[in-house]
């Protein structure tokens, strides 16, 4: 179910102060496609996702959502136009109930909101029984599901996930990635940052390898050369 790219990043440069963390990077993700963003610690994965969202200012380049240039818009505008974000470390709203965490991210009327809520509960049944629970009381895995569900409530066309398996047991990580595959299968463009190659590759059809802020490989999982992977993680 792939087609024209929903997300197009062209020559994006971003960083902190003067320091460049993402260097003239280009990539695109099509509707229904899941792309893994692989790279070692500090490679620039989180910075890239934040720059796409606008949380880190871009110093150059373009970002297009369904052909529309969004690089100059505030993050909240980008989100309302169809970007969804699952941050590193989940960052659920700790004092709010699971239901409120989900509802707050919806931009639809009450009836539609409730229907989307049910869809999230269908995807993550573990959340339904905890709907009235404050989010800080959830386990790490449940918080991750909540963070993914919250992003889905905005009905994103492009979903950005930052290390969603971090700190999860292999079983829970598998569940989260199964959900990611299911989300892509509905036509959402998914870009998922990972340090663990094996996990990311299980969910993605294409891999972008990142090293020192630069893309050093971009292609289907099957064509990923082992030495590129080694370079990305060990340097070379």
């Amino acid at each position: 179910m792939t087609g024209a790219p929903l997300l197009q990043v062209e020559g994006l440069t971003a960083g902190y102060g003067g320091a460049v963390a993402v260097d003239r990077l280009s990539l695109s993700v099509a509707a229904g496609e899941a792309v893994a963003l692989l790279g070692a610690n500090g490679a620039g994965k989180s910075t890239l996702l934040k720059a796409i969202l606008g949380l880190v200012p871009a110093m150059g380049g373009r970002i297009r959502l369904a052909g529309e240039e969004i690089g100059a818009l505030a993050p909240e505008r980008r989100v309302r136009l169809g970007l969804g974000y699952v941050p590193e470390g989940r960052r659920v709203f700790p004092g709010m109930s699971v239901r409120d965490n989900l509802e707050v991210a919806s931009w639809l009327g009450r009836a539609e909101r409730v229907r989307d809520l049910e869809r999230v509960f269908a995807l993550f049944p573990a959340l339904e029984g905890k709907a009235e629970e404050r989010a800080w009381r959830l386990s790490g895995g449940q918080q991750q599901m909540l963070a993914v569900g919250r992003a889905l409530m905005g009905r994103p066309r492009v979903l950005l996930l930052d290390e969603p398996s971090l700190g999860l047991s292999p079983k829970l990580a598998g569940e989260v990635f199964a959900a990611v595959r299911a989300i892509a299968a509905t036509g959402t463009a998914v870009l998922v940052a990972e340090q663990s190659a094996a996990r990311a590759l299980s969910a993605a059809g294409r891999v972008v390898l990142l090293r020192l802020g630069k893309s050093i490989h971009d292609g289907p999982v099957e064509t990923l050369p082992g030495d590129a992977l080694r370079d990305a993680f060990l340097g070379g």
């Binding site: 969202l53 949380l55 505030a74 993050p75 909240e76 989100v79 309302r80 974000y85 941050p87 960052r91 709203f93 700790p94 004092g95 709010m96 409120d100 509802e103 707050v104 991210a105 919806s106 931009w107 404050r134 800080w136 919250r150 905005g154």
Partner: protein
């Protein structure tokens, strides 16, 4: 009977304090900034009531109560001005910058009030009438009951807004994690402005409620901000229900001790209690970690 009357008086005072503390804590949570003008905003609300009172049509009943919506709306507007002038330009600076800018805003309000109204105490009209009610032998001031009712309604309204509406969820999300709120599509700056408007409107309402019984002077704010601060400290820094409970406790304590000893003694004991709490239970009497606040 005396005890019951004191209880009603204490609850009325506490209800007004609760509005002040509630407005203070909402802004605190949304901005991580201490709004030190909150006490002066109470004073401004009271004097606004005093200034508007002569313009009430004499043929209408319930004079004081009619002022409430006007005071709420005008004070909400003042809150927007305060946010635009004293908070937004400094939001990327350390919290102490806002702390100082709100102190400055408070001083401006005090001096403005002195120029406009002079230093002598003024009284706003009562909400209903200045009379008393006889509840089976318990004689209470109508004003006390009206204060309790109005404050309870406003607090219930805040609870409903924050708990049950999308706007409330966005206000809470902004208070918990503004960057993540933006990443959920929330217009964080708008939420902060709304919070300032709400917090200031509550301060103004408290001013109107207090300005009949307790009078109001341009310098009345200093005492009130300290009490709001103590209420929020007692209740657990950042806790909304804690702020309300803390305010009620303070007022009951103040009324109780004043009746037996004197008001200065009550105030002294209150400050001493604050010190003890800050040292012994920095998480507040009710002890919910700020991280987990609603």
């Amino acid at each position: 009977m005396i005890t019951l009357q004191l209880l009603v008086n204490g609850l009325a005072l506490g209800a007004a304090y609760a509005l002040v503390a509630l407005g203070f804590v909402l802004v605190l949570n949304a901005t991580a900034a201490v709004n030190f003008a909150q006490g002066d905003l109470v004073m401004a609300g009271g004097l606004l009531g005093v200034a508007l009172a002569p313009h009430l049509p004499a043929y209408l009943p319930l004079p004081g109560l009619l002022l409430l919506p006007v005071v709420l709306v005008l004070m909400a507007g003042l809150g927007l001005v305060l946010a635009a002038a004293a908070y937004l330009p400094l939001r990327r600076r350390p919290p102490v910058a806002v702390f100082i800018s709100t102190i400055a805003a408070g001083i401006i309000l005090q001096n403005g009030a002195s120029v406009l109204f002079g230093p002598e105490p003024r009284a706003a009209p009562p909400l209903l009438s200045g009379g008393t009610l006889d509840l089976g032998g318990l004689v209470v001031a109508e004003q006390s009951l009206a204060i309790i009712a109005v404050a309870a309604l406003l607090i219930a309204g805040q609870q409903w807004l924050f708990g049950r509406t999308q706007l409330g969820r966005r206000l809470r999300a902004t208070a918990q994690d503004p960057e993540m709120a933006r990443a959920c599509g929330v217009r964080v700056t708008a939420m902060i402005l709304i919070t300032f408007a709400l917090g200031t409107a509550f301060a103004g309402a408290a001013g109107l409620l207090l300005a009949n019984r307790y009078f109001v002077t341009p310098t009345a704010g200093g005492d009130l901000i300290l009490k709001a601060y103590i209420a929020v400290t007692i209740g657990g820094w950042g806790s909304v229900p804690g702020a309300v409970a803390g305010a009620l406790l303070i007022a009951l304590f103040e009324v109780g001790v004043s009746s037996v000893l004197s008001y200065p003694v009550a105030l002294g004991l209150l400050y001493a209690t604050l010190l003890v709490i800050l040292v012994a239970r920095p998480q507040g009497l009710f002890g919910e970690a700020a991280r987990r606040r609603a």
